[in-house]
């Protein structure tokens, strides 16, 4: 029997494989459950012996994110991964990366909070990921994978967008997707960018040695003149607007004729896709709108569903109600928008979501 190139892997493990195969230059991290397998797998695979990728365990999350800043400032493809409390520690560095317009990849394999919280899955960091988390007016490009295959695919997609827009990108996963094993097809190995390629791509901004012919590139988020700082802010906002116009990714399941639409992302979207099957089996016209990018958010797609006459939206999240605010903004009062969630590391079952949908929307 011919062996297929299909692997069975955890979401966290596949992040490591995908990063190496993408041609990532460096990973800097600090262990935390439930994402420690990312660095463990990288250490096991020893990419420094093959592609030359650096893998380094820093002394803390704060060091990790600042190593990412340093690597990114030279035009390299660098990344880190952590889980909720660790991402909070990185928040200052993430704001600096966004301010200095540095491309990089940050993985947040979320666990329940606040504080040290729990190590079980949660989606309580939605606000932190899409509304800032660090200080200042900035945005991250945020991907929400719902399968092990998407954990793999989003590494390349997020890196590509990060470089296209010179902006940090985040993969917002959670303990369920990180710990779950599924089939995955790995991408072919790509070579890391050569110095010449980096020069061609990033010479305009990266700190990689000053040639005689041009001014020094300065990588910083500091600008003490308010007039200039406002112009930088306006440039950032213009970039975010372009992102919102061009890079929204979503999946619509059975939405065309749906009377009610569940909006869910990541692991909860997987659970809710079973809710849709159960609802349809009962003759209820229920659909699922799954944002694949949480920022930029599929505002327009949700608005169109509301305009088309959807009778109600249920935002199903593993938190106390965060994305529901963005769904409400998109729906703009045209239909009721309710939230259903579990917290503290608890997952919901497909039938619980269906019961909530009936209770909060259909019965009314």
């Amino acid at each position: 029997m011919a062996e297929k190139e299909v692997k069975l892997m955890k979401g966290n493990e596949v992040i490591a494989h995908a990063a190496i195969r993408y041609g990532c230059d460096g990973y800097f991290g600090y262990p935390i459950t439930p994402q420690s397998e990312v660095m463990e797998t990288l250490m096991e695979l020893k990419p420094w012996e093959t592609t030359g990728m650096v893998v380094l365990q820093a002394e803390s999350e704060i060091s990790s994110i600042n190593m990412v800043y340093g690597g990114a400032a030279t035009g390299k493809r660098v990344m880190t991964s952590s889980s909720s409390p660790g991402i909070s520690l990185m928040a200052e560095g993430i704001s600096y990366l966004a301010g200095a317009e540095l491309p990089c990849l940050i993985i947040n394999c979320q666990r329940g909070g606040p504080g040290l919280g729990t190590i079980q899955p949660s989606q309580g960091d939605y606000f932190q990921a899409v509304k800032g988390g660090g200080h200042g007016d900035y945005k991250l490009i945020v991907f929400a994978p719902n399968s092990v295959q998407e954990m793999h695919d989003h590494v390349a997609e997020a890196f590509d967008l990060a470089f296209k827009y010179r902006n940090p990108a985040m993969i917002l996963a959670d303990g369920a997707i990180g710990q779950m094993m599924e089939k995955v097809v790995l991408a072919p190995q790509r070579p890391r960018k050569t110095d010449e390629e980096l020069k061609a791509e990033c010479d305009a901004w990266a700190a990689m040695g000053k040639p005689a012919g041009r001014e020094r590139n300065v990588v910083t988020s500091l600008e003490l003149q308010s007039e200039k700082m406002e112009i930088i802010n306006q440039r950032l906002q213009a970039k975010y607007k372009t992102l919102e116009e061009n890079e929204v990714r979503f999946e619509a399941v059975e939405c065309d004729d749906a009377d009610y639409v569940i909006v869910a992302f990541g692991s909860s979207a997987r659970i809710c896709s079973a809710t849709v099957e159960m609802a349809r089996a009962e003759g209820l016209k229920v659909g699922l709108l799954r944002p694949i990018t949480l920022y930029p958010f599929p505002t327009q797609q949700i608005a169109e569903l509301a305009a088309r006459g959807v009778k109600g939206f249920l935002s199903a999240e593993l938190n106390a109600g965060q994305m529901v605010e963005d769904v409400r903004l998109a729906v703009g009062g045209k239909a009721p928008v309710e939230h259903y969630g579990r917290q503290g590391g608890m997952l919901f079952n497909p039938d619980e979501v269906l019961a909530a949908l009936k209770d909060k929307l259909i019965k009314k």
Binding site: L8, I119, A176, I271, E277, E352
Partner: protein
């Protein structure tokens, strides 16, 4: 074909690896598979469980609220998961340490004395593959040929010397499982 299975017992019984062997066997048979473990402090001396789903179609939710089959390896898991077997489903349990046996009449119940059998053979490490063999006898969801490939693929190379004993344990598990009702 869709089989939603929970394997539940103590940490250290090989619950998660049993699930992994089955999941890899499913991959070899071209099924879609999900393997969703309990993780964290539960694994250290407490209860451990894993939900494995094998299907010939795309798997929507990796989380289940009812199971086609439950493999139950300690009393706590009996309390928790016996009620979650679908009517007409299958419950398989090791009688060792079980003080309250399954009571449901609307499911098929099988017992396998794998703890005792492994003690008799002096081979405690074969416990989980023996249980797996019992399960596959009752629910032959994957061809035995693919199970053997799945077994090899889920073990690190340093453990491949254990393959023949584990293969025998899978076969033997099928011989010692018995129907209660």
């Amino acid at each position: 074909m869709k089989e939603t299975l929970i394997i539940a017992g103590f940490g250290g019984q090989g619950v998660l690896s049993m699930g992994k062997i089955l999941a890899y066997s499913g991959v070899m048979q071209d099924f879609e598979v999900t393997w969703m473990p309990s993780y964290g402090p539960e694994m250290r001396g407490g209860t451990a469980n894993v939900t494995v789903i094998l299907s010939d179609r795309k798997i929507s939710s990796p989380i289940a609220h009812e199971f086609d089959t439950a493999i139950i390896l300690n009393q706590q898991s009996m309390e928790k998961f016996e009620p979650m077997v679908k009517p007409g489903g299958v419950l398989i349990y090791d009688t060792n340490g079980i003080t309250r046996h399954p009571v449901r009449e609307d499911i098929s119940v099988f017992a396998i004395d794998a703890t005792a059998e492994c003690a008799r053979l002096g081979q405690a490490k074969l416990f989980n593959t023996m249980i797996l063999g019992g399960y596959l006898k009752v629910r032959p969801v994957v061809d035995m040929q693919n199970v053997m490939i799945g077994l090899k693929k889920s073990l690190p190379e340093r453990a491949w010397k254990m393959l023949p004993d584990n293969e025998k344990a899978i076969i033997h598990g099928g011989e010692i499982i018995r129907k209660i009702r």
